[in-house]
Symmetry: C2
Subunit: 397 residues, 2 copies
């Protein structure tokens, strides 16, 4: 029996590829500091669990395919605070931002098509694009230029007759790059001029540390047909396990196409939708406190990381990741060694290997993405372990 | 901007295509008996809600991509009662049976490939297949032959060099057909002889009304590489809104391919998985009681339906649907009229139109699928309304 040519081109997630091995190692008693996955340790707001506890329908029924109106309206209320007016049909609730991504790619990409994405990028984009038969055309960036990509010549050089869309993550995962208003405007202009969709993954919107105002591509008038936003409660409210995301666009035809897929998978979890709706009742002070906490963690992380000899990294301006080059040949080999051959007082660390964040062959092999989603003292300890490990690894390899 | 050629070939769900109109009609005060969706009115077991209420983790974290071990083991325990031994890696937890379907099709189908499916079939198969670039080759059946399809010549006539898999729903949706052990054995043999996957959607397994023992394709030794089972808690435990399904196969390579997609969408809802695990602690008496209830409903449904002049239907042997031919030219036109132009004492009915259950052009236009998921008195009333409506419709059209 044969498998599809598309699935053969997909890979295991670089964030989860070592998860089986890690589970074994943990079962044998070694402690792992998980910098590999953006799983915050911030408490999920109690409002979420209050809804679970008070759910009183006798039958756990299917929800409407496009989302429970209570949640859709809560999302609309949130966007209103950003100055964005949405109708109910502009919002499609999905099983995590991941389903919004898959659904959108299935709607807009065909075999042989291309989507322009700055690299390094969130590796799950690769599978979502590849499963449609399309491919990623990367806007190549480098740590030296602080991973900035919003330069007209660089972007336009990637556009050809196969291009259907430009995609960006803002704030950036894995780089922490935050677009200025002018940069985002430029990206929107380029998309509009070339008749392309511009897909903006904005799940880290609240996590900006330079005092910027919160930015969404939906705030810019005149790009309604081009802009598609992917959003999620996962990071914003530390509710990753809720699997509640959304596809947002004022392009009515796109939303009609996406609705076909939404109906074909029936609905999103009923209780998770209702509980997620309650999260949107939190006021801005919740985000302020969370942002302050992540800023402290970032500062600690970058300070400790830059003290390790041979590490190259820039200060991320948003999200909660650091992309860094380590003084090792191959981060994946180093990661395996960290799990199987190394410990410091019974403890080790995990990161996401950098190579799958790129499509350009050979790029990112020495790079890693690390998430600063742990408490400051855990971050400090994890980076001490990393420093010890790098030294030991380079003495023995 | 252009959409993908594949999404352009997909349709809105025939079960949900009138849902917007229905919501408007209901808002204006008309009562609708919903026979269109397989949404049972049976109470969801309290065990489910107990888990929601007692969830006490402070952080709602991502679950493992392939499923929470507690749920995977619960599923394995259930299959053990059917005489089927599964390892953890044979089971992949999905967001409803729908995600298992999409995931599987993405793994095994390529552009130009074919999958053999008896028609009429569950219409959401169409979108899942079409989005891969493949197409459905139907084994055509008819009400006159009781929708039976497990005949070697009929099946083999559909197999060619493009065929990658055979798919069946057992018990059948929309037909209620239940395969005998010999028939299922024959289908497995054909798949194996031709080197094909055989995809068995068994979400209605418990709903058989002739005293048959519960059947799964996994019970037959020797077909481990071929058999893939789609399963779900939705119908079994009246927990459709949980969106907990599973892809089950002993084909290790298939499960490895599917894991790539599972990782790319991160995980399934954490609380729904934990709550679903508790459902599997229920004993067989739960199924016995539910089965007896549905049998009574089926009997009432078929008796009342066959009293309507001009209706052609056979008695379904399993699941909870009746496929019937109505004495109208076009069921979709009739449905729209039922919603907008008709009521009996302020009440009307909805069904799923038959045409999208077929791929052969022109088939099914006068047919409808109705679900007997309502209380007996509601079924009786709904079919009285249908009888009045058919009479009035044919007097005025």
């Amino acid at each position: 029996m044969r498998f599809s040519s598309k699935i053969e081109k997909c890979h295991l997630s670089p964030m989860r590829v070592f998860s089986g091995l890690a589970a074994e190692v943990e079962e044998r008693g070694k402690k792992i500091y998980h910098l590999n996955i953006g799983q915050p340790d911030i408490k999920t707001p109690e409002a979420y669990f209050d809804v679970l506890r008070s759910f009183s329908e006798p039958v756990l029924a299917y929800a409407p395919s496009n989302g429970i109106p209570r949640l859709v309206d809560a999302v609309r209320g949130y966007y209103r605070t950003l100055g964005v007016e949405l109708t109910r049909s502009n919002v499609l609730v999905t099983t995590g931002g991941s389903e919004a991504l898959q659904m959108l790619m299935a709607c807009i990409l065909d075999d042989g098509d291309e989507i322009v994405i700055p690299e390094p990028f969130y590796p799950n984009y690769h599978a979502a694009v590849t499963l449609t038969g399309a491919s990623i055309r990367p806007i190549t960036t480098s740590p030296a230029e602080n991973y900035r990509f919003a330069v007209r010549e660089k972007v336009e050089a990637c556009i050809n007759e196969h291009t259907r869309a430009i995609m960006l993550t803002n704030p950036g995962n894995p780089t922490g790059t935050v677009l200025s208003e002018d940069e985002l405007h430029l990206m929107l202009d380029i998309a509009k001029e070339h008749g392309l969709f511009i897909v903006c993954d904005e799940v880290y919107r609240e996590f900006v540390y330079g005092g910027e105002k919160l930015l969404s591509a939906l705030q810019f008038p005149g790009y309604e047909e081009n802009v598609v936003v992917l959003d999620s409660v996962s990071k914003r409210f530390s509710a990753c396990g809720a699997r509640i995301g959304m596809l947002i666009s004022k392009n009515a035809e796109l939303m009609a196409q996406a609705t076909k897929i939404a109906q074909c998978r029936l609905s999103v979890s009923t209780v998770d939708q209702l509980a997620a709706a309650a999260l949107y009742d939190l006021d801005a002070s919740y985000f302020d406190a969370t942002r302050a906490e992540y800023k402290r963690r970032r500062d600690t992380f970058v300070r400790k990381l830059s003290e390790i000899p041979g590490v190259v990294c820039a200060e991320p301006k948003g999200a909660f990741y650091v992309m860094a080059e380590l003084p090792v040949d191959d981060a994946a080999v180093f990661q395996k060694w960290l799990l199987t051959d190394f410990d410091d007082k019974g403890e080790t660390v995990m990161f996401a290997c950098g190579e799958p964040f790129y499509v350009t062959p050979g790029k990112g092999r020495s790079e890693v993405r690390m998430a600063y989603v742990l408490k400051e003292e855990d971050i400090a300890r994890a980076l001490d372990i990393l420093a010890i490990a790098i030294k030991k690894y380079n003495e023995t390899h």
